[in-house]
């Protein structure tokens, strides 16, 4: 049994208290340790992804307790890919936070950042539903701190909404877990997959309620309309690097839906008849549409980016809701793209804010460094709106292609194409108002509080864009890998047998119900 798989959880968990205890008043030391920790995470997660790329499933039994009784961490292709994505994103975001000085505008940024990473990475790696809840709470409580980092009234108000919405989500999660446990007597995902298929088709009331509750919880995380109301204000008011890191948090919801609804409540089950096609797909299409209309209607740049996150999550969920191996592969490709593109846009909107007093979409006089920022915004907007040649376009093609066999193909194509058009108009409007109209605006007095963004800020945004370009150039290889992932997801025999049959303490599972 390799111990490396728990390192992405343990490393930040140890680093965060160390930063608080040993380097509380020394921002430079905090920065050094934080960056070193994230660099180590990138290397570890790359190693893990390499190890499972041939299809093996890594299992870690905590304290050597065997699966249905003990807690397990499981690394397969999907979870290690998400872990790798998170740590790479975290590296860029952290460098930006250091370069722009955001980490020094309040206390404990780096400690909270590490705790946040611990929660996200743990949620990707865990093989147990209750553990998933615990890691959700870890990432949420760290995100509450990060969200109101640097204070300010507007931010605190948005923070209250964010926390309340997520508390209700957590309560729903507990209700769902309680009903699943009452029905099946286990919360281990692999064990659940075996037991749910044994549920008598005539007595599925409880498990149906549980599966819908669980879907609601994950949909809150994934900001699916009509459960998206927490997202626009909180992402817009959060400090930009934090909002950029939050781009992965909506994907935690998408990941959980993919994991739970391919393995436990898979589409062939009578228990979940209608859940995917009647409920999830229309909701996903509506969120895609609402998100992109929000892009067009936003009056501030940060809100615009927040709505584009909702729209791109809608695209991801459309693809997930089709629930075929092709569509899951397309969804995974799009998840990678939309995380990088969303983070890029949040960071660019902070670059814009560094150069002007606010982010209202109105003409303001041009300031230092606008041309480079405009170029970065242009690339980010092309990626997010899904125009060629970047990965947004390829991802959208993959989604459209995957929808071709569905009975709702006309609706999917219409919604995807129309909302793309709306988002192109929205981004074009924002870019031209902010960057082009600037030259026709009259200069009234000296702009206050503006400065040229630091080189490190530009470098980290450039790093994200380089990743986007790589994601487009190597689209064939990446899509090949995501197809392999979805193959593994739709044939979870390896996963289940590895989790259930690996010996440990109490390794002869007895029927306890």
């Amino acid at each position: 049994m390799t111990h490396w798989i728990i390192a992405p959880v343990v490393l930040p968990a140890l680093l965060a208290p160390f930063i608080i205890l040993a380097a509380r008043y020394h921002i430079q030391i905090q920065r050094v340790f934080s960056v070193a920790g994230v660099l180590a995470l990138v290397m570890i997660s790359a190693g893990l992804a390499w190890q499972v790329s041939d299809g093996t499933v890594l299992l870690y039994q905590l304290s050597d307790w065997a699966a249905p009784f003990g807690i397990v961490l499981v690394g397969d292709r999907l979870s290690t890919l998400m872990v790798l994505l998170t740590s790479v994103l975290a590296l860029c975001v952290l460098l930006y936070a250091i370069g722009s000085g955001w980490d020094n505008r309040g206390r404990h940024f780096h400690a909270l950042f590490q705790f946040q990473l611990m929660g996200i990475l743990g949620a990707f790696l865990t093989g147990d539903l209750f553990n998933l809840f615990v890691f959700f709470e870890v990432l949420l409580i760290a995100s509450y701190g990060l969200m109101i980092h640097a204070g300010g009234d507007a931010r605190l108000r948005a923070g209250v909404q964010y926390v309340l919405f997520n508390l209700i989500g957590s309560t729903l999660f507990l209700f769902a877990l309680g009903s699943i446990y009452a029905e099946t007597g286990t919360l281990n995902m692999a064990d659940l997959a075996l037991r749910v298929s044994l549920v008598d088709p005539s007595e599925t009331v409880g498990i149906r309620v549980a599966s819908v509750l669980l879907l609601l919880v994950f949909a809150i995380k994934a900001a699916l309309v009509p459960l998206h109301f927490w997202l626009p204000s909180s992402y817009a008011e959060a400090p930009a690097p934090v909002a950029a890191l939050f781009a992965i948090m909506t994907k935690v919801g998408a990941y959980a839906i993919i994991r739970v609804y391919t393995m436990i409540f898979h589409p062939d089950l009578t228990v979940t008849t209608g859940l995917h096609d009647i409920w999830l797909l229309p909701a996903a299409m509506i969120s895609l549409f609402i998100g992109m209309v929000g892009v067009l209607g936003a009056r501030k740049l940060d809100r615009l980016v927040a709505y584009s996150i909702i729209g791109s999550m809608g695209m991801v969920m459309v693809s997930i809701a089709l629930f075929t191996p092709d569509s899951i592969a397309a969804a995974l490709y799009y998840i990678l793209h939309s995380t990088l593109a969303g983070a890029t846009l949040f960071l660019v909107s902070d670059l814009v804010r560094t150069g002007r007093s606010d982010l209202m979409l109105e003409a303001r006089p041009p300031v230092l460094g606008t041309s480079l920022t405009a170029a970065l915004f242009f690339i980010g907007a092309i990626a997010m709106a899904g125009l060629p040649p970047l990965s947004g376009f390829l991802g959208k093609l993959l989604v459209l292609d995957a929808a071709y066999g569905s009975s709702l193909v006309v609706w999917v194509w219409a919604v995807v194409l129309i909302s793309s058009l709306i988002s192109v108009v929205g981004f074009a409007r924002a870019g031209s108002v902010i960057f082009w109209k600037a030259h026709s605006a009259e200069i009234v007095g000296e702009p206050e509080n503006v400065s040229r963004p630091s080189v490190l800020s530009y470098a980290s945004v450039g790093g994200l864009i380089a990743l986007l370009v790589a994601h487009s150039v190597f689209a064939g290889q990446v899509h090949g890998y995501t197809s392999k992932i979805s193959g593994q997801l739709f044939d979870p025999v390896d996963y289940i047998s590895t989790v259930i049959e690996t010996p440990g303490k109490l390794s002869k599972p007895k029927e306890n119900h």
Binding site: D153, R157, V160, L167, I168
Partner: protein, 118 residues
């Protein structure tokens, strides 16, 4: 006893939901606490209700109560307690800062809402 526990959960959930839908932070937080109480009892009941039975295996006992929900509920209590403390602090901060404890967004976010960069 099943009826008693079920109606207690139902009553707390109803009251909690009603309060959560209120406009100001204090009732909403009260509602959140009621909801977490309800869910704690619900989780506890998910291992079936048994009276006077031990949760650990012994040689001379034949009926047991399920120990797992008790462990789950303990975790849930700790987490919800911590979360309630956090939300109380954040909403106090928001209230003291803006002298207003409405939960919803202002109708017209003024241009000064961005002036909090420090």
């Amino acid at each position: 006893m099943e009826f008693l526990v079920a109606s207690a959960i139902g009553a707390m959930t109803t009251a909690g939901l009603y309060l959560v839908l209120r406009l100001r932070t204090f009732p909403v937080i009260l509602g959140m606490s009621l909801l977490t109480y309800a869910v704690n009892v619900f989780l506890f009941a998910s291992g079936r209700l048994t009276i006077g039975a031990p949760p650990i295996l012994r040689d001379d006992v034949s009926t047991y109560t399920d120990p797992l929900p008790q462990a789950l509920v303990l975790t849930a209590i700790v987490i919800s307690f911590g979360m309630t403390a956090v939300i109380v602090m954040i909403s106090l901060g928001a209230f003291l800062g803006s002298d207003d404890d409405h939960v919803d967004d202002q109708a017209e976010p003024g241009p000064q809402s961005d002036g909090d960069r420090s």
